[in-house]
């Protein structure tokens, strides 16, 4: 539609997450849509933009518009912008600016965001796209009810029932089977992996938890057929530690990080080279991002070198930490992290945390802003850049939604509700590996 619209004003394309925005931009470009035919944004950043441009019509103080207090400010801004739009103050400018409005992933719309979209829809032709079975996000606050809110505001035009992604991958059978699961997933009826097509591998888990863990680790190493194919490993939601454990134990795997990078942000607050224990803090955090870095052993050895009790020469890794301890600064911290990463058999399995961490240390070293500010800035830049999956990535349904791969490995299908299960099962276009004790799974009650 974007490709074939008349030249002139661009369409406004809105979605929910910056990852989604980045993915849409790439897809629009790939589809050969002429530049300038679409302006893509997230609903929230578009709303903040309007609040900044028209602070008086929104009636918001500057601190709120600048989102100094994210916990409450987003909601305040959404409500104020929805009210401003509903009053029609920007009708003229909206009509002059955009040809139409498209909103993607509408099932994730919060009620305030829905109010913004319906207000804009008074002046612009509006199309919303979404799948209620993929509503797994809870951004805080209630989300739209597909029938009660969406169907009344935007009467359904068509349902997409052709699994193009699988057809394009040559696995239409798999696509049709996934579509056929939808009624059962909505109705919380059991689904049976034994009736699945050949592209689906069911790994029967057995034995004690240790054994099951070994089975899951093996499944996580499922080989993709093509060389550049990518694999998504879907671990337990809300268990980033578990996901990191899988990533560190699986050759070539990296984690997909939550955009808020909570532990990096915490590290940004805690880490201070002037602090006596800063070397320990640094090593602990490094060990969280790299394999084969035994922090306890490393710290013990560094301690004995410092007190002169060590009998052997320091290893490369030990020397890196000692150099930091001798001259602690953000600059030496960054170089120590790089040297640790380059160490023998060491591998970074959290590049999405490592890169902004080092970049922030470099920025803090130059002294223009504090380390914490630099971490926040690097985090925000990452958030805006979006992400691309390559190789083997480990995450959860929440983190991997919107990402598409050739192979998806679902390690914990039991305990997932219908939407989570659907999102997990539909990530891979060529192959699907599911680990569970029983071949028949009943969707859990929504959490």
């Amino acid at each position: 539609m974007l490709k074939y619209q008349a030249p002139g004003k661009p369409a406004l394309v809105l979605t929910h997450t910056n990852a989604g925005r980045a993915a849409l931009e790439i897809r629009i470009k790939k589809a050969g849509v002429p530049g300038g035919a679409a302006r893509v944004s997230t609903i929230d950043s578009w709303a903040i933009g309007l609040a900044r441009k028209f602070p008086r019509r929104c009636g918001l103080p500057l601190q709120v518009v600048n989102v100094e207090n994210p916990r409450t400010d987003y909601v305040t801004i959404r409500n104020a912008v929805a009210t401003m739009l509903a009053a029609g103050h920007l009708d003229d400018a909206l009509k002059a600016t955009y040809s139409r409005l498209l909103v993607d992933e509408y099932q994730d719309c919060g009620l305030e965001q829905h109010a913004i979209v319906t207000a804009v829809a008074k002046s612009l032709k509006t199309i919303v796209l979404g799948d209620p079975l993929q509503a797994i996000f809870r951004f805080g606050g209630p989300i739209v009810d597909w029938i009660q809110h969406v169907h009344t505001a935007f009467p359904p035009v068509a349902e997409l029932d052709t699994p193009w992604r699988w057809i394009n991958a040559g696995t239409e059978q798999l696509g049709q089977w996934l579509l056929s699961l939808r009624p059962a997933l909505v109705a919380r009826q059991p689904i049976d992996f034994r009736t699945a097509p050949a592209e689906v591998t069911w790994v029967p888990l057995s034995g004690d938890s240790n054994h099951m863990h070994q089975q899951r680790m093996a499944a996580a190493q499922t080989r993709a057929d093509a060389r550049d194919a990518c694999v998504l490993v879907i671990g337990e939601a809300a268990n980033p530690r578990g996901q990191r454990l899988i990533a560190s134990g699986t050759p070539g795997a990296v984690t997909v990080e939550a955009v808020d990078l909570r532990d990096l942000t915490q590290f940004g607050r805690d880490f201070d080279p002037a602090d006596q224990n800063s070397a320990t803090t640094l090593v602990k955090f490094a060990a969280d991002m790299m394999t084969n870095l035994s922090q306890a052993e490393l710290l013990r050895r560094v301690g004995s070198h410092l007190t002169g009790r060590a009998k052997t020469k320091p290893t490369i890794l030990e020397q890196a930490v000692l150099d930091y301890a001798a001259a602690p600064s953000f600059g030496s911290a960054a170089s120590t992290l790089r040297r640790l990463a380059d160490g023998p058999r060491v591998r970074i399995f959290r590049p999405e945390a490592f890169r902004p961490c080092v970049a922030a240390m470099d920025a803090a070293h130059q002294g223009r802003l504090s380390f914490y500010e630099a971490v926040v800035r690097a985090r925000e830049r990452n958030r805006f850049l979006g992400r691309a999956v390559r190789g083997r990535s480990v995450g959860s349904t929440l983190l991997l939604k919107g990402l598409e791969a050739d192979v998806s490995v679902v390690l914990y299908p039991e305990g997932m509700d219908g939407p989570h299960l659907y999102v997990a099962l539909t990530r891979g276009a060529r192959r699907l590996v599911v680990c569970s004790r029983s071949p028949v799974i009943t969707p859990a009650v929504a959490s």
Partner: protein
């Protein structure tokens, strides 16, 4: 096309401060000389013109005070969609209507507008920017892209007419159509061959432009002799743009036409190209034009069209222009000391008749709104008398006389009030035989109007016949008998005496015996002289003659008369 909705000028030349809401069509600035009318035009041009070479001097600052920056802010409405782009210009979009003027953010009940600001600091370096209160402190400032500024740039009539009559860069001819002469081959060939042979070639290429020029010239009655031709200009030595120019059928360059013809033709061409023009500026619009051509020019600028095709800013000192325009197209510019104000004349009945009948009034400093023709005649006659006797002339001091011609003081006061509201020093000169309603008088005085009237119960004629010396009475009687005839004088006397047959001879006889006119005789004469529809002096020319010949020489012998004349003559301040 964009229209100027609001103009704000600060510290520019003679204007300390002006906030003005012009109309969407013709905006003709009138007012006393040195009021700053041309400065307003220059300000608009400086703010909207994309010329970067414009230079400023200390003399461009109000009162030469360079510490107060020049700020000219022009707010534009009827914006194209590109200029309302919420992502590009969202920080600058504002709202406007005629009641609230400009507010800083758009509103559902307001038009979406953009403000452009020109600012000049003591360093004399002009900066242009998009302006909104919420971005006022932002640095660096943002401006519109060059292309948009070019589209908004105003056209000045009378600026550089010669370039507009050839196909030079920026010429209005290029705005009439997209066609262009092939400068290379055809021109060189033409130079080699002959001027006329090129003429044939260009004429074919510029056919529709030439047709537009011819049609416009014919419509405006400019003699170009049949059809306009495009010929190689003999003065062109280089084959640059502009080498091809317009010529008459006889081969004379059109730029050799008189000033008036040039302006008229150019105005017409701009009007034809109006789809792309935004704003037309013209100073002293009447310059070089006879009244009939002036009227034609105003029509071609859209003076009678709704909706108006162009937004025009002009100045004038011509009553022809004032009469030709509607009150909503006229704006009186006033210097109120620390600030300027532009008053829209408006189109209420109270003012529109003055626009039609006494347009000179709007070009004056002091306006005397007279109840009838006699009052006007009195003022004119006395003015002539004083002028020829080295006294003070009202007309020379910028006075104008308006005839309320309604025969009632209320109407006179209403019309005077309408003029007073435009900032003129206004005198309402009314009779007092039927006193005006005190409320009307008070309302007019509240506005700062000056009331000139006779003692209660008296009309002009009563004062003349009751208070002047006998000799003047005799002179007026003789004049009346001579001019309007004995029969009518006697008729009016009889009427004034309540039907009792009375003749002028009886009154003359009374004077011969007494050597003075009795108070009864004087009262009767006054009443007769102002008989409705049969008055003795009831026309401008009659009262003018009386005033000049008989009242002037003895104007100070009647205390009542002298008091009022002093009052009237002091009005201009």
């Amino acid at each position: 096309m964009a229209r100027i909705r609001y103009v704000q000028i600060r510290n520019f030349r003679s204007i300390k401060s002006l906030d003005w809401t012009p109309g969407p069509g013709i905006n003709c600035l009138i007012g006393p000389g040195d009021a700053g009318k041309s400065t307003v035009l220059d300000a608009i041009e400086a703010c909207l013109s994309p010329r970067r070479v414009i230079t400023f001097a200390d003399t461009d600052f109000y009162g030469l005070d360079i510490t107060q920056p020049i700020e000219i802010t022009v707010t534009l409405g009827e914006l194209s969609d590109e200029l309302k782009d919420i992502d590009l210009y969202g920080d600058y979009l504002r709202g406007f209507d005629e009641v609230v003027d400009v507010v800083d953010e758009p509103h559902s009940s307001l038009e979406t507008v953009l403000s452009l600001q020109l600012k000049v600091d003591a360093d004399l370096d002009p900066t242009w920017r998009l302006y909104s209160d919420r971005t006022a402190a932002m640095d660096p400032v943002r401006n519109l892209p060059w292309k948009a500024r070019l589209e908004l740039s105003p056209i000045r009539l009378g600026g550089h007419p010669n370039s507009n009559l050839s196909w030079a860069r920026g010429s209005v001819l290029n705005k009439l159509s997209e066609e262009r002469a092939d400068m290379g081959a055809e021109l060189v060939k033409a130079a080699r061959d002959a001027r006329s042979s090129f003429g044939e070639a260009a004429a074919a290429q510029l056919k529709s432009t030439l047709q537009a020029v011819t049609a416009t010239a014919q419509y405006l009655g400019i003699p170009i002799g049949g059809e306009a031709k495009a010929l190689l200009d003999v003065h062109s030595v280089s084959f640059a743009e502009g080498a091809i120019s317009l010529h008459t059928a006889a081969g004379i360059p059109l730029r050799s036409l008189g000033t008036g013809s040039n302006r008229l033709l150019l105005a017409g061409l701009h009007r034809t190209a109006a789809a792309r023009a935004s704003v037309v500026l013209t100073d002293e619009v009447e310059y070089g034009l006879e009244p009939h051509r002036l009227t034609r020019l105003l029509h071609s600028l859209g003076s009678k069209e709704a909706p108006p095709p162009l937004q025009v800013f002009m100045t004038t000192h011509s009553p022809v222009v004032v009469r030709e325009l509607s009150g909503i197209q006229l704006h009186v510019l006033r210097n109120l000391g620390t600030r300027h104000r532009a008053f829209e004349v408006g189109d209420t009945d109270d003012i529109q008749s003055t626009v039609r009948c006494d347009p000179e009034a709007f070009l004056a400093h002091t306006v005397y709104v007279c109840e009838g023709a006699s009052e006007i005649g009195l003022l004119r006659g006395l003015d002539l008398y004083f002028t020829s006797n080295h006294g003070t002339s009202l007309l020379a001091r910028g006075a104008a006389f308006v005839n309320a011609a309604g025969g009632s003081p209320e109407l006179c006061l209403k019309r005077a009030a309408a003029i007073r509201k435009l900032g003129y020093t206004t005198v309402a000169f009314i009779d007092n035989d039927k006193p005006a309603a005190p409320a009307d008088l008070e309302a007019f005085k509240q506005l700062g109007g000056i009331v000139a009237t006779w003692p209660p119960g008296l009309a002009l004629e009563d004062v003349l016949f009751r208070t002047f010396p006998a000799q003047t009475i005799s002179e007026m009687i003789d004049w009346a008998v001579e001019e309007i005839g004995l029969e009518r004088v006697n008729q009016t006397l009889t009427k004034a005496a309540g039907g009792k047959p009375t003749t002028i001879d009886e009154i003359r006889e009374g004077f011969r015996i007494l050597g003075e006119y009795s108070p009864d005789a004087r009262a009767l004469l006054g009443a007769a002289a102002r008989t409705r529809k049969q008055g003795w002096f009831k026309s401008i020319s009659k009262m003018e003659a009386i005033a000049r010949q008989f009242l002037g020489p003895r104007w100070d012998t009647s205390p009542v008369f002298k008091a009022l004349i002093d009052h009237l003559w002091q009005a201009p301040g």
